[in-house]
Symmetry: D3
Subunit: 258 residues, 6 copies
């Protein structure tokens, strides 16, 4: 089988993290996986939800949205409909759970960070791109607190990356664009952690925090599941290396804000 | 490790399907896994959503709710809050996707079946119990159409069953009650299909339609994932056998309705 | 005139109170009037609404819902519509007012009890069944506080029971099932109190707390109103005796909860 | 006992119907019972709700609202809260049911009339005043159709009037202002029909369409109920005579509208 | 060009302020511009929104609504739709901003005044009539606080008046009724302040606080804009004189309230 | 007075239109005025709202939103709150009215174009930037229809541009960033049309379609109003020239879409 864009089955789309694409939020990254582009910003609130006060711990949450013009067929604006769709709610819960798994809430202290993932252009894999970009935005926002002396250390103990895998026409493939995603028999999203080593680089084995596989028309066997997770693992190692390369450099100081 | 209720790690809680617990909806089952009890009803609408008209195909959807008194701490009623929670939306999407995977929509024809899963008592595993009970309610509603001559054959080509597995104190366990679920390091829901054989009994190998694993505090390795899926598979074979035993008998005729 | 189910005009449907049908809420009763079945649970909150704090008084509130599968034609789920219907709101206000009339709020102290009435199967008279069953659930929840030493006495000074009466084909009848209710010319709900005597049994004359009569197609005269209220009174004495028989026995101790 | 405003127990407050207080809607009446003032308008739509099409019958519905400045303590605007209160919903259902009981839907034909009752000033009895004023507005709107030759006869077969009665300090009183209403032990609303005779005047005996009695702190006996209904009946005869006096004169022609 | 109602291009419709049309709110005015009639009430709350506490300053806000029967074609009730329209929101923001511009918030102190503008009859210019009437209601509510000794001086430093102007068939006209408004090429609302002099009368030059001009089909030039503003200014001087005439007399004492 | 960023009072911020910043919607422009950046997309729907069907005319509408991370202090997501703010509604109504004024709806035919303006970064003037960028996105979407032969000519008869002006510290200034906007005594938005000449360049005099001036603390005189409009006019001529320069080149063909 050849893929529509000519990639090998285990090959990622071109991937980039454009740091500080905007400059208002404490962290801001425009992440691209091929034509999928998501603007991820991290905003820090020096307060936590009421039920966490006096716990000494912080919280990380996430919100997700598709811009109406992100797709060839316009997507109705949820603010206008007055309601987030079930899909949106599911995705933002996944993003938040994934990022929280990478963060030491005691080191964070009583602060809440909101990671907003707004999809500027959608071509498959928007939720996993949001996690990958959201991680870098979250890192930068927290690192700026470290630089400012407000945090002793960056609370992120692990890299957090995510990717989709699936079975298309009977073949397991990595990082599906819309055209593959819409015809896949099995669709799976995998989120992985890798520890941040002493030198700031990933170290140790990969561990999973989310595995969400859904059959669309063809159920899958245990060995297919294993193949898919293995395929994901390969892509995720590449992604976490790319995240590490970006954050090896500290985030640039922000101009004095308004 | 011993489990709070003394079960073996790979042992299900006492399981029962109380058929026709109510008699108004076309299918009705009260399913119990230990103290978890869910009333599942299947209602048939001789119409499909607008976007499916003239497709010759049917649709299966699901709704889920916890009764406010289902838990020791009262759960706010979503109708009163005017909004379903993210958790509810996620669960009912899972139930619906799972049941649809077992159903041949062309055989169903242009009808919509709504499977309502209302949790009367919650002690862990309510979403997987809903799928198991919802399958039987859906079967009975459709079988009554077969008996009435409105359908040539039951559109369900496979049994659909679901169970939770998890890692508690480092041990993989099957079918977690609330007390285990609330402290599990890893929590996974697995949904399986088995073909309905010529004799109405399950046959052939198990295939998966949903695998949703989430780390809560401890990420998991590929081999742990495999162990958990294997543990689920064992329980699911037992559950589908129990479903098969129930439906071996055709549903009782309904009294003439109001 | 003969009634569809062969009852005499002043005869109740078979009536039962299944105590502790569920075991999570502090009080739980499955009440049946013929095919009408309502699960009533009472949950205690050791706090009162803000406007009642420091008043030394408690509060009783109620919520009501029909399960979607409770009726032959599926009822849309209000949580999914994002709104309770006018009918629902009216009914839960009636249930709450009725139960409050039986309760001494100073004896209750600063606690709020929520009585949830979820209709599992609907065949007429769901609101009056909810009041009857809700009373027993409320009693049990409060009595368990007495047993636990948290209340000096049960704050319920009166039995509270309710029934529907109506005029069908010109005849006044008691306890209408759906088939009668849908064609009744006059429809009336009556809620009655009887004092709890020293021996825990009802004593003294019946007193009314709610009389809600509505003409559906045929207005009624003052003497018809009187006849209907008299008919209701007879049924209500039987119901309150049945409630008294149930609560003559103290509620069973609950297993230690999760 | 003497009443705060010096009235006898069976005396109504000063009552007036100011016809065509506004001139846009097809019927418009400002009704006053003492300080309670409600603007009632009736608007005709030459269409019926979808479920009534091709039935040959019409429909009458009602909406009710309190203006925020209608009371000494400002009432939150329901449009701003995005939700009608339970009280509002209950009241507008009562108004609509009452007016429908007076109207022959076949004579009305496939039209919908909406009666809007907006309380400009609230001093007790706003729902019963709304019914009384709404009846006159509805009459005028329909009579203008008769005058225009669009209806053969006015579909209102009966006068419809309503009043509150209650027990205050142990005494049954008629037409309670807020100061009495807020301390009444029993509160009852009664809606009555009287046939429109050949001469357009009320004739025949009074018949009831709604009796809604609620104990507030003191339950009531069957004989008290009878006393209250009798007291209401006296007031209602006076009110329907006043309505008849107003509509004895046909409504003035409307200036050509924009 | 002659206007439909025969007025000169720079002539206002008959204008009146009916003070204390209702008597519950602290200030109440029924304002009329021709057939446009708006009931404006001002209600005082001895608290401010949370974000203003301890600022020593007060706040003035406004709400606006059209009664459903205010127009020949019934207007859907926003409370029933569960949402205020964009038009409503825009108008009430304009009213509030305009009235706040006339008020010294430090003199007001930590109180919030809500000015409710409910349109009883709509014939063009409802938002500007609301501002004119709202000003008088606000004045009276505040003046009653002065009379009661709760305020040292009335916080209104300026008269606030508003009017619409427009270009109809190429001619600039003042105070457009619906029939002109619906065909105007340009539509403009102008809000003006004039200082309250030592004698309580307007003094000094007019100043603008809002100029909102919108082309409907024909864009306008700078000189047309200037002509329209000049036309508005003339009308506004007349209106503010009328407001001054009303408030020259102090508001009548209120009867002791319930 | 010197401005914080050193500009002359009548000088615009650096302005750019980044065409086809995304490639899914039919038109897409990232517009920048200094740090203010808005992504404008235009999506074409080959249908019109029901009330316009069979009118032979098209419609242009607009939606506006601020991304939560667009500002130093995170802005709550309206989709999560379930409601668009009054400010949002006002702004999107302004954008839509302005763009409609430039478009010949008969030439457009029965199509609806939705212009979405999503603010990626907010530093004052987001609504006027949205109009300027939205015009170019709308142009490109329509021009692609012309190129595809679906439209005979581009329905935009005029350039549409917008800018803010204000009085800061007593001085009239053009194009206010947040730091000026937040302290301005007068704030005004001006929207202007200029005809599209035969060569596609602006020609003829400027005409206004919206002038919205609001005093914030200091009312303004007629001559100040005139000064502000003149200042805006200068800036708007520059902006429309810039728009003309962009669209002088036809939009690039789109890659075949998914």
């Amino acid at each position: 089988m050849s893929r529509p864009d000519g990639r090998a089955a285990d090959e990622l789309r071109p991937l980039s993290f454009q740091r500080d694409f905007t400059e208002m939020a404490e962290g801001s990254v425009l992440v691209s996986f091929g034509n999928t582009r998501v603007l991820c910003t991290a905003s820090i609130d020096d307060d936590v939800p009421r039920w966490m006060r006096n716990s000494g711990k912080g919280w990380v949450t996430a919100e997700y949205s598709m811009l109406p013009g992100a797709s060839p067929e316009r997507i109705s604006r949820e603010a206008a409909k007055g309601k987030q769709s079930g899909r949106t709610v599911e995705i933002q819960r996944l993003i938040a759970r994934s990022l929280r798994a990478a963060c030491d809430m005691k080191v964070l202290g009583e602060r809440q960070v909101t990671v907003d993932c707004d999809v500027l252009q959608a071509d498959g894999g928007t939720r996993t791109a949001s996690i990958c970009g959201g991680f870098v935005a979250l890192h930068d926002a927290l690192q700026r607190l470290v630089i400012a002396g407000e945090l002793a250390a960056n609370p992120l103990h692990s890299f957090c990356s995510a990717i989709s895998v699936g079975i298309v026409d009977g073949t397991a493939v990595l990082d599906l664009p819309y055209i593959e995603d819409s015809t896949a028999e099995v669709d799976m999203n995998v989120v992985m952690l890798r520890s941040v080593g002493a030198n700031g680089q990933p170290e140790g084995e990969a561990r999973f925090v989310e595995v969400q596989g859904t059959a669309e028309g063809m159920a899958f066997s245990r060995s297919q599941l294993d193949t898919l997770v293995g395929l994901a693992e390969g892509g995720l190692l590449t992604i976490s290396d790319a995240q590490a390369a970006v954050i090896a450099e500290p985030p640039a100081p922000r101009p004095a804000q308004r």
